[in-house]
């Protein structure tokens, strides 16, 4: 992460700026209404911005998605995402699992561990919000949400 400095512009908005590794100085000005301006600074006169894009809210969102695309997948590959004590994990159902062939309800995951299975990924297809009578099969990946210890317990149940 580069050092981003923040400057308040009274009556206009906030300006964020940083210098890239290659020495270019760039800034984003976030207007009060959410409009953004993207600018780079002149090398000869570092006080003056020389190029700029004027982006509305949708355009800046699109641009940030393009710029952040690889970053987003990196984060998902890291699998775990903690939201104030809440953890999400992808649990596979191995051949030896006692719950292969059993319904989610029969496994009583929520009762025993506090973990909810919010989706099941099977053969590239995602079954979101499965019912308690959804039957797990070998090779399924259960998307589990709960506390980190609860998730560990659920993983232990699926992988004896």
């Amino acid at each position: 992460m580069p050092d981003i400095s923040e400057t308040k512009l009274p009556g206009v908005g906030v300006r964020f700026e940083f210098t890239t590794e290659s020495g270019e100085h760039l800034a984003v000005l976030v207007h009060r209404g959410g409009r953004r301006e993207f600018m780079t600074y002149d090398a000869a006169d570092p006080d003056r911005c020389s190029t700029r894009l004027h982006l509305n809210i949708d355009e800046s969102r699109a641009l940030s998605e393009l710029l952040g695309a690889s970053r987003v997948s990196e984060v998902t590959a890291g699998v775990e995402q903690e939201i104030e004590g809440l953890s999400i994990d992808w649990l596979s159902v191995p051949e030896a699992s006692p719950f292969a062939g059993a319904s989610i309800g029969a496994g009583m995951f929520r009762t025993k561990t506090g973990v909810s299975i919010v989706a099941v990924i099977r053969g590239g297809e995602t079954h979101a919000a499965p019912e308690p009578d959804f039957v797990l099969a070998v090779g399924d990946v259960a998307v589990a949400v709960g506390t980190p210890p609860g998730i560990n317990d659920a993983r232990a149940m699926l992988h004896p």
């Binding site: 308040k8 009274p10 570092p46 006080d47």
Partner: protein
């Protein structure tokens, strides 16, 4: 509105036609100004010179409506100004802009005050002329910075913070001069000034610490309710402030400051068109009261004031931009951007219109604002060629 029209003592039809012609003329001028990329204020002032006393057209029956409209215009100008800033921005602006702000006041208030005394005016009128030359125009400057794409420049925060300090200084200055103008005995004046300052301090403190409650109450309402509540509040607080001899304008400014958060944003969007209409009427009405045949006589003091205070603003901008690490080109850009005076100077001059020296003050102020509002933006535009002129050693660069 009907009472105003009735007071004008003629049938509404004539008033409508006169008003309609005036507003359409203002529209044409505003369009011309935006074509040329300059502020419309000087155009409105010139138009006002042609109307009324000493001009070529007499406004006649609609003059009374225009005078009330002008008063509302001042309130809306100040309300919109108060709405521009969040209390966070005020605090940080004050912190970073205090030193250049003091310098700004010393360099730009003093020349106006001295010229007023040299012209043989009484103390209140001279103090008002000091105010006229002190305050830069936030309206003109933010337009210039946006049009020249300079919002991202390093020196820009120093300019904006200075404007914040000036506007806050007005919250102290306006009630003080209003009290001085209203009283003639020295002891009573001091008492009135003290009352005014204490009241403003209390209201400002209350607005900063309790404003969010008022904003929360107003926020869920629809646009219609919001615009009615905000304008109603502005008139009410303005009227009460005027009763207490604090100046209605400051009341409106404090209402604007007190609003915060989402309601502030929504209210400024809603107030903007209203402000544009009534502020145009205010500038027009101010110039109507000026007799154009008296302008040549004040040209010399106005030009002297222009030269001295333009130098004062250049120095202020130089110091302010230097403090945040801008190079000499950035410092010149900051200084030239600050030269323009506008709406606030006219508001200040209009406070003294009833004084003995009031008409002359108004004329000097009009000439001065015309000079600075036209030359200021031009200087800002060509700031970079100016700095390469000043420093031949640096390579010449194409101006923006």
């Amino acid at each position: 509105m009907t009472t105003v029209l009735a007071a004008a003592g003629s049938d509404p039809t004539t008033t409508f036609i006169e008003l309609g012609l005036v507003v359409v003329a203002l529209a044409v001028l505003a369009r011309l100004a935006s074509r040329l990329g300059v502020s419309a204020v000087p155009f409105f002032l010139v138009a006002g010179l042609f109307l009324g006393e000493g001009g070529i057209v007499d406004l006649g029956s609609s003059e009374e409506f225009v005078s009330v409209g002008a008063e509302i215009g001042v309130l809306l100008l100040l309300l919109a100004l108060g709405l521009t800033y969040t209390s966070d921005e005020l605090r940080s602006g004050l912190r970073t802009g205090a030193v250049p702000g003091l310098m700004d006041a010393a360099l730009n208030f003093t020349p106006g005050f001295i010229v007023g005394l040299v012209l043989g005016w009484e103390f209140p009128a001279a103090a008002l002329l000091g105010g006229v030359t002190w305050v830069s125009s936030s309206g003109v400057i933010s337009k210039v910075l946006t049009d020249l794409d300079r919002l991202g420049n390093r020196e820009t925060p120093s300019v904006l913070n200075l404007l914040v300090v000036e506007d806050l200084a007005m919250a102290v200055y306006l009630p003080v001069v209003a009290a001085i103008v209203a009283r003639d005995q020295a002891t009573k004046t001091i008492l009135a000034v003290a009352i005014a300052l204490v009241t403003v301090a209390i209201v400002l403190w209350a607005a900063m610490s309790w404003g969010h409650l008022m904003s929360a109450t107003l926020n869920p309402s629809n646009n219609e309710t919001l615009v009615l509540s905000v304008v109603g509040l502005m008139l009410l607080v303005g009227g009460v402030a005027q009763k207490l001899q604090i100046s209605a304008a400051i009341g409106a400014f404090l209402v604007g400051l007190a609003l915060s958060g989402p309601v502030q944003e929504r209210a400024s969007d809603l107030i903007e068109p209203l402000r544009d209409l009534f502020a145009a009427i205010f500038f027009l009405f101010f110039a109507i009261q000026i007799n154009p045949s008296e302008l040549p006589a004040v040209l010399v003091p106005a030009i002297i004031l222009f030269l001295v205070t333009a130098a004062g603003k250049l120095a202020t901008g130089w110091i302010a931009a230097k403090r945040i690490g801008a190079s000499h080109q950035g410092r010149i850009r900051a200084g030239t951007a600050l030269i323009a005076r506008g709406e606030f100077s006219i508001v200040i001059a209009s406070l003294g219109i009833a004084l003995i020296d009031g008409p002359e003050l108004g004329t000097v102020a009009a000439a001065y604002v015309l000079l600075t509002a036209i030359i200021g933006p031009l200087a800002a535009k060509n700031a970079d060629s100016l700095s390469s002129l000043l420093r031949r050693s640096t390579p010449t660069r194409t101006p923006v």
